[in-house]
Symmetry: C2
Subunit: 309 residues, 2 copies
């Protein structure tokens, strides 16, 4: 059964036990644009204790640089790019290191600028994505749109993620590339979260958008790069030797059982669920041992607040 | 094994054997806006022989009146509204006769005017659908859009079908109604064809769009009204006593195995596959006996052309 963090002694033991603290962001550090209590103090404490903090997010609409801006905007200073792992970055790394896609090939993007930026940083050219020509007719669909008859022969991978600026043309074009060349172009998903929390509501997540093009093309993604997939964990371990050799020195902190907690557990880390996101204490207490997080806490700021007591 | 129709004697026997001729439209009578050869002559022949012709389509973007206009535009005269069964009409009938939704309730529509017209004709008020307020921001998503915070409490059913004028707001709103009231609002799909043939390409079909809101809400449609579902067949039989009592006097003609041929077979009718749509002779000859159509032909116009020989 999961242990609830409720006192100073537990926190001191926990801080002795772990060197690597992996954080989900939305629902853990902030809710939308609202910082959660004692978050800067908790991160400062971990830095002072020489702990390695790594931020792991499935939101592919932002690139790592956008996350650094967001941290600064919310008053959290000193985060560096190598501490941030987003599903857009993980997907770009997948295209480069695992697919080993030639740099003269292009990537068709169903998604936003976060994905485009990370791919460009690794030397790739993208098509689709935020191209204004694909939204020139707005929500009206023109079956004679030139993009439908002029598929780009250089496209060597399809990368799909969360897209707010969605229309029928973008979905149908993504489908054309998935069917093209006898369905041989690799199909990568940033993440498959079905929903996306926003202002107290659940909205359509990346996974639900990807379902459309999956069902239409009869193809499942060849790889899913976000949590809980271990591709991102392996990238983190590759950069952090101590975590690779001894994952039990790492603690994954998040607000979702099926992505964050599974991501940590599958990577061999201990896990801490916070109740500031979508899970409730009642649900946590009902979990079977094999899926229960190691710890749970009301909020991440409790690490700082109990430590100081 | 399926019998290929290739001579006059076969056609004369076939015309003796059946009283009811059910036709899929796109891929059988026309391709888009292009009428296929000898179609008016074939339909005239059937009328002269006092055969009952019924037109059965899964395209929910049109209402029955729109189909009558299309028949006239293509030069086919004399078709009446009671001879046309579309998935938009079948869905409206389902809401009325099976769900028995009260007329003071509203129907949330993810779809186009065909659905709205058929529902209105049965006395229902619709929300969503082609409402211009839902596309006022075009493809841009505004998370503060008032529709998201003001769900219509009168909505008593969600009806989803093919939508070209798609955006993230419409999908997210559909999801809100599917989650509302503890997921208790009935969820009806016009049809679940994954793709849609248009100008030599396959585009995103109703089923693929419905997958998005299904996956996001964790709900499958409670009913699918188009082919191959038998709800539409039962409506047709209700209006045609002779077909109801002896389905083997009916022949379902279509271009798709998994919708048209299954629809006919499940209804106890014999089946005729035409090769003017998406199936090939090579595929037909490989089919197992239990899914092979009774007959196949190069085109529907062969009925007229061989009859005259």
């Amino acid at each position: 059964m999961s242990v609830k963090l409720t006192n100073s002694e537990q926190i001191h033991n926990l801080l002795d036990q772990y060197d690597y603290f992996l954080f989900d962001c939305d629902g853990v550090l902030w809710l939308g644009d609202h910082l959660l209590p004692s978050v800067p103090e908790t991160l400062d404490l971990l830095k002072k204790l020489n702990k390695k903090c790594i931020f792991v997010t499935n939101n592919s609409t932002k690139a790592r640089d956008d996350y650094l801006s967001k941290f600064r905007k919310l008053g959290i200073e000193g985060i560096t790019k190598d501490e941030v792992f987003g599903s857009s970055y993980a997907s770009a790394v997948y295209v480069d290191k695992i697919l080993k896609l030639s740099k003269d090939k292009k990537v068709w993007v169903l998604g936003e600028e976060g994905i485009e930026k990370e791919l460009k940083e690794l030397g790739y050219t993208t098509v689709g994505g935020s191209d204004p020509l694909l939204v020139e007719d707005g929500v009206k669909f023109n079956p004679d749109h030139p993009a439908l008859s002029n598929l780009d022969e250089q496209v060597g991978a399809v990368l799909a993620g969360l897209t707010f600026n969605l229309n029928y043309l973008k979905l149908s074009l993504t489908m054309q590339y998935l069917l093209k060349d006898n369905k041989s172009i690799p199909f990568i998903a940033t993440n498959i979260d079905s929903t996306f929390p926003s202002k107290g509501k659940l909205l359509i997540g990346a996974g639900s958008i990807i379902e459309t093009v999956s069902f239409a093309s009869g193809r499942q993604p060849d790889a899913v790069c976000g949590k809980p997939n271990q591709a991102m964990m392996n990238s983190i371990k590759a950069d952090n030797e101590g975590l690779r050799t001894n994952p039990k020195r790492g603690l994954m902190i998040g607000d979702r059982l099926n992505t964050d907690m599974k991501f940590g557990r599958d990577g061999g880390l201990d896990t801490l669920l916070v109740l500031t996101g979508i899970e409730t204490e009642e649900n946590v207490l009902k979990l079977q041992q094999d899926v229960a997080p190691t710890y749970y806490a009301e909020k991440i700021g409790d690490l700082f607040e109990y430590y100081k007591k």
